[in-house]
Point group: C3
Chain length 342, copies 3
């Protein structure tokens, strides 16, 4: 059971060319590609003739030609040519999924009915290249969606799992505050670490090498969008009363959490920063660091999922640090129940 | 449920030596080997003592010695020696399957009762080395038997899947004719392409580099024998009224389709040609080309099977080009029903 | 269903350091490691917080720190630290399994209630380094526990499976004697081969290169302990009436048979010899030979298990040589029934 009537990240913008890729999203196989005009197209990845994946086909102009028997589809998913005859049976068309490209991410609507564009998460940091520099990536994890949500909502794991990059002792020892906005359907987790050592991830990029104030403020909008506001500033100098904060460094760490299938999840990420903008060396450093961090999560969650499945009678114990994850679980459960009863 | 009372190709003649091989056929594991005299033997691949595969044993003279505890079997599958005692329990024998060697292929009878040698498909091209040169091979596909049958009966896929070797636009655009001979249990598909470009597969081997008449006439004898009569001739010069056709080049493309198990099939092939006979360079070229063609089918069918299983609610749509495959399906279904009710 | 109230070999002593390993034993995942003092600890390999394998954690002094969120456990499995708070919930502890180190082996008690140390098999050869030199190893087999037991109780397979090392024709042709001591729960199998060729395994190590008397006397104590008394002596010179046997060479070949899970088993072994003691070259030769022998068993049993599962309707046939294995089966079945009814 997936929450369908939401936007999910389907691909990195950079992944999509006129050579189609395939990706499983909410249990469905989707062919993703660009036609000659550059437009992104997302079609059900199954030729209606004999079921061959359309993603193995070839883009010719604005059309996609199936790689098995040449059935040809336009951008709307309508069949426009078949082998050996001129008449095209009316049932020969495939579903096109609405998609929207925003900076490094391409979102998809897998839901019933019309796509609700107003429900698309607001991500100004991805498109304002004058102020923000972005690096992006994706990993797929053989673990349930829930395990990834819990991983991201309890960052105390940074101290242990990511000790070489972003984890310092204070991430684990600092108590958190949690807020749940039921109406806006957002879980917020605040962790303000003041006068602490700056980890390599930030010291190398900001040039700060002594103590800093380091804040991690999470906004999780279930099901698929997670936003971490990271602030690194000089000790004892919070943002000004009017909200301006030019003396600090800011990073927006976005995750697009997209269920692939039961027990499999795509983990899209973007790092957007307001410092060293257009510095390609910093881009490369951050991309490499974050790829390593994400791989540590992938490895851990793969193991956790496999272990969970081979020893299913486990009864977890929660502590205060889990309040964010538990709130997310409750919200997801309520949304699932609402979807089932609608 | 397999159609048992038929001959199937079990092995290439060249695969069988005094070092046994194992192959799953119609769900059963079979040990295939030659004894010292050169005779081919096919035994149930399971020692009756503790079930170890006999194919891991050693041929000694006319006998096969199990590799685990040394139980020894003659060509009839009768146990003739056991460790530590002289008396041999009467239950210690294994099934020998009838087999017949014909040129590059070894056929096997997996059926109930006596093997019906008169039912063996006629394949004169495999044994008359004065007139026909053969190259042969085999691949195993992780796809259902039905997917392979449909692949071979709708050659319009050559244009897309095999575009580098045998596929030209006309294979896909030329309408086909289909005949079903219910009594002889043969499905025939005719595709006569006249005045068309000669594909590399034939231009390199026949020396024809301009336009040709290219005919593809299929005789499919379910379940396991498929024969494609390929004719490449000068434009506008069909066979003579008396049937003689010396001004054209002929290739007999034989497929032995042998179910391995549910969802797995062996794809044996032979190319027999009546031109450039005993030209080893042409042999090597054709073997390499055909191995590539078959691998393209293997890759496509593996993907199709995997996709079919992960999205099982697919409803196919058929067009005219599918008439051959649909006729084959009906014939196979009728044969299965007849087998079940007998 | 496993026989739990017994000692099983859990690890080689040499495998355990302050870097934990994980091993599945009787269906349960166990983290095995040494703390700073050198003491061996065996904990249930699952953090009670979110189930992450504790074996991926880090030993710090006498404690183990979970690699995901830093939950920390002492040697008794009691949680002594959690992130973000001082109070430690009482449910946060993990099971510690009793373990005992004896020479190259570490035994574990997976049973209910108190560990019964008096039930630990007696293995003086593993600890008396003045008289006995040991080499040890372990392999894990994707086969059922029963297949390994039968393999070890019917050594006639040495002739065929291990012909390059320990197998000679006489192992297979010599009749065996079998005794079952129901009270002591031991199956004994005797095979005395007199005036036979000495196989490479023993000729290289004892220096005997002509004919020898070679005895193989098995004591199998179900479920998990197998002891082969191997005696290589000059022809026609049995042990003296008083039991002394200084003119012969002795090897104790011990196997610890530890079920990993249904269809998977750990195969621990030790070779203890009373000749060439402290000769490291002989150690290396024997370790290499025995590793090869065990690998031959692993390969055979992996194949046998896979084949058994894909052709499950097999009905075995037994002969005299199987009496040891059949007796072991009966004893194991009786023990299982007793365990179920207690």
């Amino acid at each position: 059971m997936f929450l369908r009537d939401h936007w999910y990240v389907a691909a990195l913008s950079s992944e999509l060319t006129t050579k189609p890729i395939t990706r499983q999203i909410l249990g469905e196989h989707v062919a993703l590609y660009r036609v000659a005009s550059g437009e992104v197209v997302a079609l059900a990845d199954q030729c209606p003739h004999r079921g061959y994946p359309l993603s193995l086909g070839t883009v010719v102009g604005e059309q996609l030609v199936c790689g098995y028997h040449g059935f040809t589809f336009d951008c709307a998913g309508t069949c426009v040519a078949v082998p050996g005859q001129d008449r095209i049976p009316s049932r020969l068309s495939v579903r096109r999924y609405p998609s929207i490209e925003r900076g490094p991410w391409v979102w998809i609507w897998m839901g019933h009915g019309e796509a609700d564009e107003s429900a698309l998460p607001d991500t100004p940091w991805l498109t304002d290249a004058d102020v923000w520099s972005c690096v992006a990536g994706v990993a797929t994890i053989d673990a349930s969606f829930d395990l990834l949500v819990e991983n991201l909502l309890d960052l105390s794991h940074e101290t242990y799992l990511h000790s070489g990059s972003i984890g310092t002792p204070e991430v684990s020892t600092t108590p958190i505050e949690v807020e749940v906005d039921e109406d806006a359907r957002v879980v917020r987790v605040f962790r303000h670490m003041n006068d602490v050592v700056c980890p390599p991830f930030y010291s190398r990029t900001t040039g700060l090498d002594g103590h800093v104030d380091r804040w991690q403020d999470i906004d999780y909008s279930p099901p698929g969008f997670y936003l971490l506001h990271a602030r690194i500033g000089p000790v004892g100098r919070p943002p000004m009363p009017d909200g301006s904060d030019n003396h600090a460094f800011h990073m927006k760490i976005l995750y697009g959490l997209t269920p692939a299938s039961e027990g499999r999840v795509h983990d899209f990420w973007v790092l957007a920063r307001d410092f060293c903008v257009v510095d390609r060396e910093i881009d490369a450093f951050l991309a490499k660091m974050q790829t390593g961090v994400v791989q540590e999560d992938v490895d851990a969650l793969n193991v956790l999922q496999a272990r969970t499945q081979s020893a299913p009678e486990f009864n977890e114990v929660s502590i205060k640090i889990d309040r964010g994850g538990l709130a997310a679980r409750r919200l997801l459960a309520a949304m699932t129940e609402a979807a089932l009863s609608s």
